[in-house]
Every structure is written in structure tokens, then in C-alpha cells.
Amino acid sequence: MARMTMIEAVRDAMDVSMGQDPSVVVFGEDVGYFGGVFRATQGLQEKYGRDRCFDAPISESGIVGAAIGMAANGLRPCVEIQFADYMYPAYDQITQEAARIRYRSNGDFTCPITIRMPTGGGIFGGQTHSQSPEALFTHVSGLKVVIPSNPYDAKGLLISAIEDPDPVIFMEPKRLYNGPFDGHHDRPVTPWSKHDAGEVPAGRYAIPLGKAAKVREGSGLTLLTYGTMVHVALAAAAETGVDAEILDLRTLLPLDLDAIVESVNKTGRCVILHEATLTSGFGGELAALVAQHCFYRLEAPIRRVAGWDTPYPHAQEWAYFPGPARVGQAMLETMEG
């Protein structure tokens, strides 16, 4: 066991995977010699050689397209898109190609690739370093979508993603890389070294895709969330005193519907939280499922808290970010009716 940051945990997952399986290759912009702009691949080129960890030209469509070709020829690429905001040139390759290789060839070809990308805001990165495009992936049949909220999960989920027989989008909340940011931007963040979930076992372990984690047991309401917002929700529960049951979904697709239904049926109330914009966000999907499966148990309208429907602004970052105050208010309203 060692205490790790989320970056170290992600790196460790790739290290373990490359060590046990020679077909795992890692590439992307700046990931080779330099080890990535967030240093997630630091040391991997030195350890595994230039033909297993290397720099790619700045071409996201090329990165994903090449990964698809490699996968068709027996490799298991784990590629990095430098920021989720830069996946758009690869969107065609991801959604029209990777997602459907198995289906359209009836399993003749498959696409076991992992596409890592830092996601979310909170770093004053403006509209092109802050986006949360997960719903653009969950809307596509054939992709799996994973968003961890701590180092322990990040390692176990990334190992599962790399070992998965199908394409997995692995979104890393960059605001969590160094510690469990809870939305209080004016306070220092506790580093992962002081947090239990920073405890990461050595070697291989896998967390199955499609299993939510209950991060807070409660009876007042159920709060469904993932990524950075898990920590914001915990802070909001502590500050409002609402006895929330908080589910960290961890994978959006496949989704742990059983855990969701069980919890909402117990509490009878539901708040959904994500940083991505509200309209057509993943929260809409969750709300529909909860309405369908828990309708007769609901005692209050389902509420969604999300980023406003604007591009992610620079200076107004904290007015945009759905912080603990907004989340707390939604919790209180949901408790009232």
C-alpha cells in the first residue's frame, strides 16, 4: 500500500497493465519523453521503450484512428487526449468507428482501446480546458464511460478499462488530480496523502465497470453524482446537515441501475449533480430512470444541479461551477418537498 495522488494512481494502472501485457501501448500528445502535460505517463517510455510509449503528432483523429487500427491488429492501446475539450477532432473516430467496429463486423474485428482524457473545470482554464463532455459519449451505443473520483478507484477502474474487450472512455477529473476538491475554492485542498482513498495497493487489482460506490450512507435523500462532484456533494451534506445517501456512479455506462433504484426507493428523494451543462446532460437520463423505476416512492420532485447552459467562462468560473452552496440549497429544497 502506498499513498498516491490520482495522477500517480493512473500512471500505476498503466504501468501494471504494460508490465503484465506486452500488447498494451500508450501514446498521445507529449506523453512520451516528457510524460504528459499532467505527468500521467512519466517514466513509462523509459521503462517500456519508445515503441510502447511514445509522442503522437497533434492530431486527435490520428491518435484514435491509429489506436483502432492497432487494436484490430492485436494491440491494446491506452491513448491520452490532452484535455477532454480536444477530443472533438477524434469524435468521428470514437463514435462512428471505435464504438461500432464489433457490431458492424459481427465480432470479426473488435476494438479494445481505452481513451483517457482529463475532464472538468476549476482550474481557470476557460472554455477549452474545462469541459465535461461525458454525455456526448453516453449517447453513443458501443462506448463505455468511466469517471473515477479518487486514486483507489482510478487505478482499479483504469486497469478494468484497459482489460475490457470494448472501447472505454476514461475521464479523469483534473481538479481531483492532487486532492479531493470539494468546491471550496478559497480553501486549500487536502492532499490525497491525507485521505483514505489515496491509499492504493501495489500491483494489479480491478474494480468492475458498472458498479457504483456508496460514499455516504443516509436516509434523507439520494444524491447521484460522479467525479469531482462527489466531493462537493459530501461537503454540501456536511454543511447543510441533510442526511444524504451519496452514490458515486463511477461508470455512467454501464450504469449501476440497481444501486440507484435501491437507494432512491429507500430515501424517496433524489438530487442529481454534475458539472456538465444541464440541458441534455447525463442527469436527464438519470432523472428519467429514477422517475420510471421509483415513481411511486418519490416524495419530492427530482432535482438536478449542473453547470449553467453557457460555455465554461474564465473569470466567472466560481459562479458557473455548481459548488456546495448550490448543491446544499437543492438538498434542502428536496427535503422540504
Binding site: D30, Y33, D51, I58, S61, F124, T279, P311, A315, Q316
Partner: protein, 412 residues
């Protein structure tokens, strides 16, 4: 029969000559003598001037003299103004890097070592022409006399920010100054510039466009899309590639691949393509003027590769000592654009070391007084700022009801 050639394959991954710990080595960079490259007629065909895509067009020689057929595009006064613009930009950069370190803004990108390119290019354009820049062409604004205070207001996201705090620092936008709104998504501006130029042709206007991109970003599909549109429609556009040797940590070889040069990319599209010494203010201006003439005479696009060196970090978030050797910038064989233009003016008897020191001080004063004024309107975390209300404006021409509701909910 192919049995003979079957052996196990291996992957080629390009690497720069030297990494940290080594001594800088540019011995493989061939620097042709100044004045050597011919100056073709602007209606030359791409295939007839292929060589210009593989050499480096240079005007200033080591003695600071302007030599060869590309010399003579600028008057003495214009040369002095050029020096002033470059010094202003350098002073601006140095103050803004410090301001970022002091927490007055979140981010900054400097132009160090590349000042000649945008500053000289701007002077070859006319009123109404449009640039589609990257984040490293602030020289277009400075040489276009755009107010320094306004630039700083944008960098500080303060109450005077024309973009209302919405955009990352240095992502300027000013139609009036021929500067298209900058995107953080690389290369998207390339086909847009071509479209702007095509519109000019469709409207039978006489304005032209200039596209800008870095060496690393030429790997994006949009670069190639821009070239094919420019080639097909013979659009009045200048396709600039600023080859400053580095993307972030990746050297230019990763994007260039097996091609000899970035300029050579244009040849495959039948676009006249030239390489120019990007640290030579006179050469940049001369080549830009040649390309501008081609575009104005409806002769079509030109690709210009500006050969230079990124002397500073990629951005304030970057530390180049992790991936390139110390002193590489000093070893760069094309020198410093400011010093080279200064030496030229001195060689011409128009300038002196004393006047240079004085001008450097004056430009720094100008920047500092602009900074004072900008800071009186606030900085990122203190003083006056755009309101949270501004965040909801301008998503659409008219705010749809759902946004109005959200604004209300936000209480702003």
C-alpha cells in the same frame, strides 16, 4: 518471391538531436546565405519555385546589411517602427509573465524570439484584411496599434475586458483590427481563414485573409482541410506556418515526419510555398508582401513557413528544461530578431546602441503605464470585474427562456 524481404519490422519514433543534459546542437539546420534565394514573379507556378520550399529566404546578413532580391521592401522609418513594435511586444510579454506569477491573471503565452514574424507580417496587410491567428501572434495587434491597455484588460479579465471575462487570457478578438477571435482548439482557424478569403472573392471585394498555425498543429486534419480548400478555390489567403521548432514538449520532427519541411506540405496541393527566416524582420516583410500581392491579384494562396525558435516556455504552465537542453535558444543559428534589426539600423547609420537603450526604456515605460491603467480597472482576483450576469449574455443573439430562468436561479 517476397519471401526475400520478410524480416521483422520495427517502429520508427523520431527524437530530437539533443535532450536535457546534452549540449544544444543545430549543426543539422542548414542556413543558406542571406540574399541567395531568388525572388520569382508573383504569378510563378508552385512547381517552378519548388526550391523556395526547401531553402530559407534571408535578407539580413551577418554584417547587418540587407542583401539580395528580397531586400528593399521597407523605408527607414518603417524599419524603425518595426524595431519599436518588437521592443514593445517584448516589454509587454515580460510584464505580463510577471503579472501572471503575481496572480493577477491565470495564464499567459509569450512571443519571445518570434516577434519579427507577426510584427512584420502585419505591416504587409492593408485595412480590412483579416487574420485568423493562434495564441502566439500578439505582434499583429501591437504592430496594428491596438491599445495595450485593452489587451491587458482582456488578460486580467477586468471591468474593461471587451470579452467580459469569458475567454482565457490572450485569446483576444478584434474585428476592427483584423484579428479573428482566437480558439483554444488548435487548427480550427485554418479552413475558416480560407472561407473568409473565399467570401471576399464571392463578394468581389478586394480584402484578403491570413491563416496562422504552429508547426505542431499542422498535424491536425483542419490544416489539411484548409490547404485543399485554398488550392481548389485559389482563395486569396496566406497560409502561415510558424515553425518555432517545438510544440509543447514535442520537437517539430514529430509533426513534420518524413517531409523535408513544412513548406513542402503546400507543394502537394499545388500552392506556391516559401520558407523564410522568421527572425529576419526584412525577410518576413518582403515574403509577406509578395504573398499579399499574389492574393490581391487573384493569383491564389501562398504558404509561408516562418523558421524561428520558441525562446520562452510554451506558456506560463510549462517548464521547457524538462525536455530540451539549456541554452538551446542561444545556440539557435538565426539569432534574435530584435538584435538583428537593431544591427541593421546601426549598419545603415540610422541607429546607435544609446538610442536602442533609450527606446527599450521608452517602450517599457509605455507598457508599464498601460499596465497601471489596466490594473486600475481590476485584475483577475481583485478590483472591478465583469459580473456573473455577463456569463449568461452572448450565448445567443437573444437569450432563450431556459437561460433566462437559469440566470434568475443564479440570482445575478
Amino acid at each position: 518471391m517476397s519471401e526475400l524481404h520478410r524480416s521483422s519490422l520495427s517502429l520508427h519514433v523520431p527524437e530530437p538531436e539533443v535532450r536535457p543534459g546534452g549540449s544544444p546542437d543545430f549543426s543539422n539546420v542548414v542556413i543558406p546565405r542571406a540574399g541567395e534565394a531568388p525572388r520569382p514573379e508573383p504569378d510563378a507556378r508552385a512547381e517552378d519555385i519548388r526550391k523556395l520550399a526547401f531553402t530559407i529566404i534571408r535578407v539580413l546578413n551577418r554584417e547587418g546589411e540587407a542583401v539580395g532580391p528580397w531586400a528593399g521592401s521597407l523605408t527607414d522609418e518603417q524599419l524603425k517602427a518595426g524595431l519599436r513594435h518588437m521592443l514593445l511586444l517584448r516589454a509587454f510579454d515580460s510584464r505580463m509573465v510577471i503579472a501572471q506569477r503575481q496572480g493577477k491573471t491565470s495564464f499567459y503565452i509569450q512571443n519571445l524570439g518570434e516577434e519579427a514574424i507577426a510584427c512584420a507580417f502585419r505591416k504587409a496587410l492593408g485595412p480590412g484584411d483579416m487574420n485568423f491567428p493562434t495564441y502566439r501572434q500578439a505582434g499583429l495587434l501591437i504592430a496594428g496599434d491596438y491599445p495595450l491597455v485593452t489587451m491587458m484588460n482582456q488578460i486580467y479579465s477586468n471591468a474593461g475586458d471587451p470579452l467580459k471575462g469569458r475567454q482565457l487570457p490572450i485569446m483576444y478578438s478584434t474585428r476592427e483590427n483584423g484579428f479573428f477571435t482566437i480558439s483554444g482548439n488548435l487548427a480550427t482557424q485554418y479552413p475558416q481563414a480560407v472561407g473568409w478569403a473565399m467570401a471576399s472573392a464571392i463578394k468581389k471585394d478586394d480584402k484578403i485573409a491570413a491563416a496562422w498555425i504552429g508547426d505542431g498543429s499542422t498535424a491536425e486534419s483542419d490544416f489539411h482541410a484548409g490547404l485543399v480548400f485554398a488550392s481548389t478555390y485559389k482563395a486569396p489567403v496566406i497560409l502561415n506556418v510558424v515553425n518555432n521548432q517545438w510544440a509543447i514538449s514535442t520537437f517539430q520532427g514529430v509533426a513534420r515526419g518524413g517531409a523535408g519541411t513544412f513548406a513542402a506540405r503546400g507543394l502537394g496541393f499545388g500552392i506556391p510555398s516559401l520558407r523564410v527566416d522568421g527572425n529576419d524582420y526584412l525577410a518576413v516583410h518582403a515574403v509577406a508582401s509578395w504573398a499579399v500581392e499574389r492574393a490581391r491579384r487573384n493569383l491564389g494562396p501562398t504558404l509561408i513557413e516562418h523558421v524561428t525558435y520558441r525562446a520562452g516556455a510554451h506558456s506560463t504552465s510549462d517548464d521547457p528544461s524538462a525536455y530540451r537542453p539549456k541554452g538551446e535558444s542561444d545556440a539557435w543559428p538565426l539569432g534574435d530578431p530584435v538584435i538583428r534589426l537593431k544591427n541593421h539600423l546601426i549598419a545603415k547609420g540610422l541607429w546607435s546602441e544609446e538610442r536602442h537603450v533609450q527606446l527599450a526604456a521608452e517602450t517599457m515605460d509605455e507598457v508599464m503605464s498601460a499596465q497601471k491603467e489596466a490594473e486600475s480597472l481590476g485584475t483577475l482576483h481583485s478590483g472591478d470585474r465583469p459580473s456573473s450576469r455577463d456569463m449568461f449574455e452572448g450565448v445567443y443573439a437573444e437569450m432563450p427562456p431556459h437561460l433566462r430562468r437559469q440566470r434568475q436561479e443564479a440570482g445575478v
